[in-house]
């Protein structure tokens, strides 16, 4: 078994209550988790249960309010501080800088990390280093199969291609852990599947540690080497108690998308669903339907 690189002990997050002034609302409560090198941890749970809050806490974007959160960097344990290059991140809304081409976006991190302010501001300084960074960035662009679009601006790329840029940008920093917050939710099924395969291939080649938040059980089972279910123990006390890890389980690795149709995959899905009650999980398609039907302003097309 690989060594742990991230440890959360009794971690929680509370925020000011939106309605009751002066009171706190708990979002996450009593989370214990150990992430080992090379794992793909998929986090699943009902909408609004705090999956993204957990990710934002690990990334250092919105620090946890209690508990111990530590990370191993170069053999030493450090408490999780503000965001750093050791924790790369890919969000759902592919927020890569719009003003740089795909290649420049991937080289951006390398430039920021290796060059100083003056070198980064003046185009004529450190030309050789910048060229080397661009060449290195090109390799990451190739890994996410985007070479022919390297010169394009993000607005000229499709959602899936932009997400590939975001992944390459994060990978170029060689983070100890890569945080992905529902990265493929906004994509059409085909792009989603091809990106799942990209992530799987990168994991096989580079052995990254990935922390993958999703609300799609199928995606979680397909990609993960370990699945974590986040939920409120008691839905009635959701507002006061916050969510915690209610189940975790090692998963076998499925190498091809065809495996999703296999009996084992189906059995795994069924066992996970039955384990937590189907009602708590809605697949994106049904989510979508629910929004459509509950939204009064949308009139049915005659």
């Amino acid at each position: 078994m690989n060594e742990p690189i991230l440890r959360l002990r009794k971690v929680g997050k509370s925020v000011p209550h939106p309605e009751r002034r002066g009171q706190l609302m708990s979002i996450l409560n009593n989370i214990d988790l150990e992430v080992r090198r090379g794992e793909i941890i998929t986090v699943i749970g009902p909408s609004g249960c705090g999956k993204s809050t957990l990710l934002a806490g690990i990334g250092g974007f919105r620090p946890f309010s209690c508990g111990v959160a530590e990370m191993q960097i170069e053999g030493e344990w450090h408490p999780l501080g503000p965001p750093s290059r050791h924790r790369g991140v890919v969000f759902q809304d592919y927020p890569v800088p719009e003003f740089l081409t795909a290649l420049e976006n991937v080289a951006l991190g390398l430039n920021l990390h290796r060059l100083n302010f003056l070198q980064n501001t003046m185009p004529f300084l450190a030309r050789r280093a910048k060229k080397a960074n661009r060449e290195e960035a090109r390799r990451y662009i190739e890994q996410v199969e985007l070479s022919e679009h390297a010169h394009k601006l993000p607005r000229e790329l499709s959602g899936g291609q932009r997400q590939r840029v975001a992944i390459a940008q994060a990978l170029a920093m060689q983070p100890a852990i890569l945080l992905m917050d529902e990265p493929f939710s906004g994509l059409d099924p085909r792009s989603r599947e091809s990106l799942q395969l990209v992530v799987q291939k990168l994991h096989a080649d580079l052995g990254n540690t990935i922390f993958f938040v999703t609300h799609d059980l199928e995606e979680a089972v397909f990609l993960g080497t370990r699945i974590i279910v986040l939920s409120q123990d008691d839905p009635d006390k959701a507002l006061t108690e916050g969510a915690t890890i209610v189940h975790q389980q090692e998963l076998e690795v499925f190498h091809t998308p065809e495996a999703k149709a296999s009996a084992e995959f189906g059995a795994l899905m069924v066992s996970l669903r039955s384990h937590f009650g189907d009602a708590r999980f809605h697949r994106p398609e049904t989510d979508h339907l629910k929004i459509m039907t509950s939204h009064r302003r949308i009139k049915p097309v005659a």
Binding site: V89, D93, V96, P97, F99, Q169
Partner: protein, 258 residues
């Protein structure tokens, strides 16, 4: 046709009315100067563009240079300060808590009401007039820059923070480039305000400049020259506006809609 000819129709109507009024006034008083004829405006323009026999200076050129110098000082300083201040107040929370309330308070004061104070404090020289333009542009531009910075997608900021930037790199290379197209656009919209304050300041206290010349002409009831100078001001403002549009679309190709 609709695009080029239709805008001309209102102009033709106005010119017809003008011509009609001109004829009636000239019939009553042949020496009338309130409504000059086209050839009189042309003469005034020619006079403004020829060297003065005593001073060897071309009045129009001297006026434009004097005004542009004031304009450049005030507007240039305002844009530079607003960019720096807007980035700092918008991005760093502690700078924001320190200055944002004051910025908000200042934005309620019309700079024209400070004109007297500025003239008393700085005299009636070029600095005072440039300072008025500076105030009129810098405060609203800083405010809008702060809002633009705060409107940047939070995820993009978080994402950039994992790429190991120093705070200066974060502000200058990520945040500044993000807001640049909007900043240039906001600065462009404030060109009009800057012209208002420039001309007002020159009307009140000056010995050169476009506003000064209009003031002198109004004392002599030289409407022809006033009309010519108003046209010059309009053309200058238009040229500035267009060049900022071109600069923006050249510098920030990424923000232009395809």
């Amino acid at each position: 046709m609709q695009r080029f000819l239709f805008p001309l129709l209102p102009l033709i109507v106005v010119l017809l009315f003008y011509q009609n009024a001109l004829h009636r006034r000239r019939a009553a008083n042949p020496g009338d100067r309130l409504l000059p004829a086209a050839h009189e405006i042309w003469d005034a323009a020619k006079l403004s563009c020829t060297e003065n026999e005593f001073t060897d200076e071309v009045p129009l050129k001297e006026d434009i240079l004097a005004s542009l110098k004031l304009f450049g000082m005030g507007y240039g300083a305002a844009v530079a300060c607003a960019l720096i201040a807007g980035l700092l107040v918008g991005y760093f929370k502690w700078v924001n808590s320190m200055f944002d309330p004051w910025l908000r308070a200042a934005s309620y004061l019309p700079p024209m009401s400070l004109l007297a104070l500025v003239f008393l404090g700085l005299g009636i020289g070029a600095e005072a007039k440039a300072f008025i333009i500076f105030l009129a542009v810098a405060i609203p531009l800083t405010r809008s820059t702060v809002l633009n910075v705060q409107n940047i997608n939070q995820h993009q900021i978080w994402n950039a923070l994992t790429l190991d930037p120093s705070p200066a790199e974060m502000v200058w290379l990520i945040v500044r480039r993000n807001i640049e197209p909007k900043f240039i656009d906001d600065a462009r919209l404030l060109l009009g305000t800057a012209w208002v304050y420039l001309i007002s300041a020159e009307l009140i206290a000056s010995d050169a400049g476009l506003g000064y010349r209009i003031n002198v002409a109004s004392r002599n009831m030289n409407v022809a020259q006033i009309l010519f100078y108003v046209t010059v001001i309009g053309l200058l403002a238009f040229a500035m506006d267009r060049s900022l549009v071109c600069f923006n679309s050249w510098k920030n190709r990424w923000a232009v809609n395809p």
